[in-house]
């Protein structure tokens, strides 16, 4: 009561809240006012609205597919200064655009930091999130999102400066480690040091560029993220040759495209775009020979390329959907080579990402 009286007495003063009883409802009332104004100004500015029939219909209506992309991992997703995006994940988005519109350029990329990405997807800001995101159980059960496949099998590793003379992650006891906020890496590194009874100091940054810059300037002894990311990040350091990626893989990081839960049609589409890329490689359909392959007698190829059956229509696409994808981008192997494999600066080996019949884990269910 004393405080209430006190607050009221000076209600003309700028420092004062009007009345202590109102303070409790302050938040809610302010919020309503905020929403009111937000809606009004949004209406005048124009919101990209769409009937909530389904993501595919929305996408068709908008004339483009909006993808959440990584703004700074070379080989997976990165824009140049003119805004041209490149990378494995980026090409997956283009593949979806090619399947839907027969035009890979109808993909719009929204750069998302790892801490914004799932809320951006869940809130409908992007149609699909392809931003080297790790598939975990809790993310699927609590964030309202679902993975459509695994386009890159990865694992977390460490990078260190050569002059420390560290040869193994087991020697990192007492080290300072830079990580990026809101990632599985942040949790894995805690688990790893706990499990090995080692001490460490963590420095957490909002974005991977900040974390990397801090590591490069010597703030930390080691930087940790997925090993594919480390290979890309190493290239962007002041002196790439001074840094080594340690051999330990401390986690499973299955990365893949993610969609919202509750829209199975869209989930199927994204999932089968991924599978089609794999099957094309498996059957030897490439960007160069796809026209010839249309004449192939192999029933599997016939079904894949829509010469036989109506598999594309069942996804809500045209039956030539795979032809559209492969003509624009090639198969999984070609996309891999161009962005992260031997033809790229990253020079990553296929490893786990080889096809299942070549000793890898990439295995697509058949089209039939």
């Amino acid at each position: 009561m004393v405080i209430a009286a006190m607050l009221r007495k000076h209600s003309a003063d700028v420092y004062v809240l009007p009345n202590s009883a109102e303070v409790g409802s302050n938040w809610r009332m302010g919020m309503k006012k905020l929403i009111l104004a937000a809606v009004i100004s949004a209406a005048s500015f124009g919101i990209a609205t769409a009937a909530s029939a389904g993501t595919l219909d929305n996408v068709k209506q908008k004339g483009q597919v909006v993808c959440g992309a990584n703004p700074g991992t070379a080989g997976f997703g990165v824009p140049d200064q003119q805004g041209n995006w490149t990378g494995l994940d980026v090409e997956y988005c283009r593949a979806i655009a090619a399947a839907v519109f027969n035009d890979p350029t109808k993909a719009k990329f929204v750069p998302l930091s790892s801490k914004d990405r799932f809320t951006a997807l869940a809130s409908g800001e992007v149609d699909v999130l392809i931003r080297n995101s790790t598939w975990t159980m809790s993310r699927e059960t609590t964030l309202g999102i679902i993975w459509a496949g695994i386009n890159y099998y990865d694992g977390q590793g460490f990078i260190v400066n050569n002059k420390l003379g560290v040869k193994s992650a087991k020697e990192l006891n007492g080290a300072t480690i830079c990580v990026q906020q809101g990632t599985t890496t942040e949790l894995n590194v805690a688990d790893y040091f706990r499990a090995n009874k080692m001490e460490y100091k963590v420095v957490t940054f909002g974005t991977s560029e900040e974390a990397l810059k801090a590591y490069d300037s010597g703030r930390c002894d080691s930087y940790t993220t997925d090993r594919s990311g480390l290979a890309a990040d190493r290239l962007s350091m002041t002196k790439p040759d001074d840094h080594t990626i340690l051999p330990e893989i401390i986690s499973k990081e299955p990365l893949g495209p993610v969609v919202r839960q509750g829209d199975d049609q869209w989930l199927n589409l994204v999932k089968w775009v991924h599978n089609a890329l794999l099957i094309s490689e498996e059957l030897g359909v490439t960007k160069a020979n796809v026209d010839e392959m249309m004449k192939s007698e192999n029933p599997e190829i016939k079904r894949l390329l829509g010469v036989e059956g109506k598999f594309g229509e069942s996804l809500g696409l045209s039956n030539a959907w795979v032809v559209q994808i492969v003509k624009a981008l090639g198969n999984y192997g070609e996309v891999f080579d161009r962005n992260v494999g031997p033809s790229s600066p990253l020079k990553l080996v296929r490893g786990s990402n080889a096809l299942w019949n070549q000793g890898g884990l990439q295995y697509a269910p058949p089209i039939r």
């Binding site: 009332m29 905020l34 929403i35 500015f45 919101i47 609205t49 998302l112 809130s123 800001e125 810059k213």
Partner: protein, 379 residues
Amino acid sequence: MIQTRFMRETILPQEAAPHRTSGVLLWVRENLFSSVTNSVLTLLSLWALYATIPGLFQYLIVDAVWSANTGKECLAENVGRPVGVCWAFVTSHMGYFIYGQYPEAEWWRVDLFFAAEALGIVWLLWPNAPYKFAGIIYFFVIFPIIGFVSLTGSTMLGLTPVATNFWGGFLVTIVISTFGIVVSLPVGILLALGRRSDMPIVRLVSVIFIEFVRGVPLITVLFMANVMFPLFLPDGWRPDSLLRVLVGVALFFAAYMAEAVRGGLQAIPRGQYEAAQALGLGYWRMMIKIILPQALKIVIPNIVNNFIGLFKDTTLVAIVGIFDFLKTIQASLADPVWRAAGMPFAAYIFASLVFFVFCYGMARYSMWMEARLDTGKRH
């Protein structure tokens, strides 16, 4: 008994005043060496100036590298002399800093936007400019439409649409601060009127909004705009990420503008209200014709000061992933071609200069305006 023998009989010519009580020496003595402490402070300051100014001049201008194609070309071992700031880093990224990823062929549209804005600002802030009311209409209605159309594009007019995720750099900083002022000032005026209204519910709502917003940091409002706004809207509505931040910033500053305007409203003597009512004017006509013109005029300095704060705080949008001026500078620091020691210095000094020029200019304007408005009251 008293001897008067020593009395002088001739008048001496007038002598000049002692050096110590006039001219430069007096000034120096009075202002710089009036006491021991003062002398020590003066000497210390002179020493500090001597120690920093020539060095800074050398570092920023004489030794600076003005042209280079990579960061390595700015290093001392490659230039072959001691090097200062690598301005080449700034000049080579200038287009990116100003326009972000806006397509180069369309840069003229951004320039048009800047020019339209400059016209509006000069019109409004130059006290002797003619047609003030038309200026207000231009800045708050016509200019936003011109700006919106020229930046986003329109297929009808043959302008290629440019999505907001291509906008960046100084353009975004200006867009956010402009949107902030164009929306927050009218909303702020409404809130200020609401806070002084006779209607209890209107007053309550205004007070709660103002105090709530002023009690939280801008960054939390931006987080809210970023992660919570989309949840409030029906499924399928997708407010643009830049738009969300614009709304957050505008609402945030509306609360501060409201307080500035309220100060002006309180300063208007009661007689003005009573006279307006005696003339039979209704509430809105009284406010628009009598009270607000007077109140807003006296709070122009406060509004400009608020705007300086808004302009500086636009940098926070970088934290929620919008590529404003500072964020493009940060991002270009990650450019592997330019990664080298000393680049952050060049980048941050450049950014500081830009912000300083704008903010200090506005601050001087506000002081000048304050002095101008004050003349009537001085005795």
